[in-house]
Amino acid sequence: MESAIISTEQLEAIKELCNIGVGKGAAVLNSMLSTHISLNVPYVKIISGKDFRQEVKAFARNSISAVELAFKGNISGAAQLLFPTETASSLVSVLVEEGDDLDMDALRAGTFCEVGNIVLNGVMGSISNILDLSFEYSVPEYIETHSDNFMKDSSLSEDSHVLLARTRFTIDELDIEGDIALFMQIAAINKLIETIEEKFGF
């Protein structure tokens, strides 16, 4: 399989783009909610779809909840915000000030979808604005499935490459981690790297 060659500086640039994006997302969430939320991306990495499947299994042993935003344009793929379902449910509980131990019903899934929409829009907006890329987007979708079936139930394939950005959510007393994953074919990843090279000169 063809693979992406990326330098440390380029990876740092992507991490910075993600941090700018999640920062915007946090600002929007803070303007809407009574709880204070801060988001940051401690690291990013590019891995194969197959390795990502293993990461997902290690990240969430049972059910996983994701918000998916598919995009087409100069670069095509899908962006996802993923959490183990229990963590996603705790996040929603804190945001809407509900008691814990509630099912991820349609209302709570809608709320999680909105949080994912805000964070992913921040990241995609940051990538498209700073790198001068334009995309056409689909309406964000909520996906909930067992981690074993995750690749099968989302619009991903093992031959995709994944730009994985670990995202830390700190909300008052709750400190949780989710993943932002950008799924792209290798050609799209290489195009992203090329664009970074053109923009930043490395």
């Binding site: 600002a27 929007v28 303007s31 809407m32 909610l33 935003l69 995009f71 929603v92 945001l95 809407v96 509630l102 099912d103 019903d105 349609a106 209302l107 709570r108 809608g110 709320t111 979808c113 909105e114 929409n117 805000i118 992913l120 829009n121 995609m124 907006g125 498209s128 334009s134 995309f135 056409e136 987007y137 689909s138 309406v139 964000p140």
Partner: protein, 266 residues
């Protein structure tokens, strides 16, 4: 013709099909000027298309000035990603009153649609779903679930309390039984000691008199010594019986137990 008027006439012809969908649809430009207002939204808001098209959405519905709304949809006008407003975080973007007088709960998605006339210009298409019934059903389900959980917890609590009361009752019964047993034992011991002491004193006194008697043959004296030893043992036993304060038993035969005099009197 101004660009806004051009857009309005262009949309009203092309988007007529959206008048037949059960979703509220509104299209507005970057200045929040309404370009299209479908029949469903007109029905929900009781505001005809002619009353709002060409007017400012924010002026008609100040509720859209809620925190984060403008900030989130600003990128729509440059072709940014769709923006979701969930029913839990924003109960309604365009307030609508239902026939029963309650407020409609909405789920809203705002997407960018490109202008056909001008390149890199986008309009906002707001699609509003009536989520009232779903929200009510989920609220009802949650209430039922919480009630069922409360009942389960209450039942568990009652069962625990019942178990504790039962254990306390059994302990109390056991204590009463022990007290009764001890009472009977003490009465029996008192009576036994009292009844045995009289003949025992006579026995020991008589042996004392025999010892004081002259010319009693040695063999007979030996027998009397044995009788005296046994009488003194009986006296010790009677003394123990008098000192009984608790009920302690020991194994006698395989399925029979007897009072342990040493333990009971210590």
């Amino acid at each position: 013709m101004s660009s806004s008027k051009m857009d309005i006439s262009s949309f009203s012809d092309k988007l007529n099909v959206l008048n037949y969908v059960p979703v509220g649809i509104c299209i507005f430009d970057i200045n929040y000027t309404v370009l299209f207002w479908n029949k469903c939204l007109a029905h929900w808001t009781r505001l005809n298309s002619s009353d709002i098209v060409g007017k400012n959405l924010s002026a008609k519905f100040p509720s859209i000035d809620s925190p984060g709304f403008h900030e989130r949809i600003q990128y729509i006008f440059t072709g940014g990603p769709p923006v979701l407003f969930s029913s839990q975080l924003h109960s309604s973007i365009i307030p609508c009153v239902l026939s029963d007088g309650s407020s409609m709960i909405q789920k809203t998605v705002v997407s960018a649609i490109p202008s056909e006339e001008r390149d890199s210009e986008y309009f906002a298409l707001m699609a509003i779903e009536n989520a009232t019934e779903l929200s009510r059903k989920i609220s009802e389900y949650r209430m039922l679930r919480n009630k069922a959980m409360e009942e389960v917890n209450l039942r568990k609590k009652i069962e625990d309390e019942l178990r504790e009361s039962n254990n306390a009752l059994l302990e109390h019964q056991e204590t009463i039984l022990k007290q009764e047993r001890l009472k009977v034992l003490l009465e029996m011991a008192g009576a036994t000691a009292h009844e045995l002491n009289q003949p025992l004193m006579t026995l020991l006194g008589t042996i004392e008199l025999i010892h004081m008697t002259q010319d009693v043959p040695e063999t007979i004296l030996g027998h009397f010594n044995n009788i005296e030893k046994s009488a003194r043992r009986i006296a010790d036993i009677v003394s123990k019986i008098q000192k009984i304060r608790q009920y302690q038993t020991k194994q006698y035969l395989h399925d029979v137990s007897i009072i342990d005099l040493t333990e009971s009197s210590s």
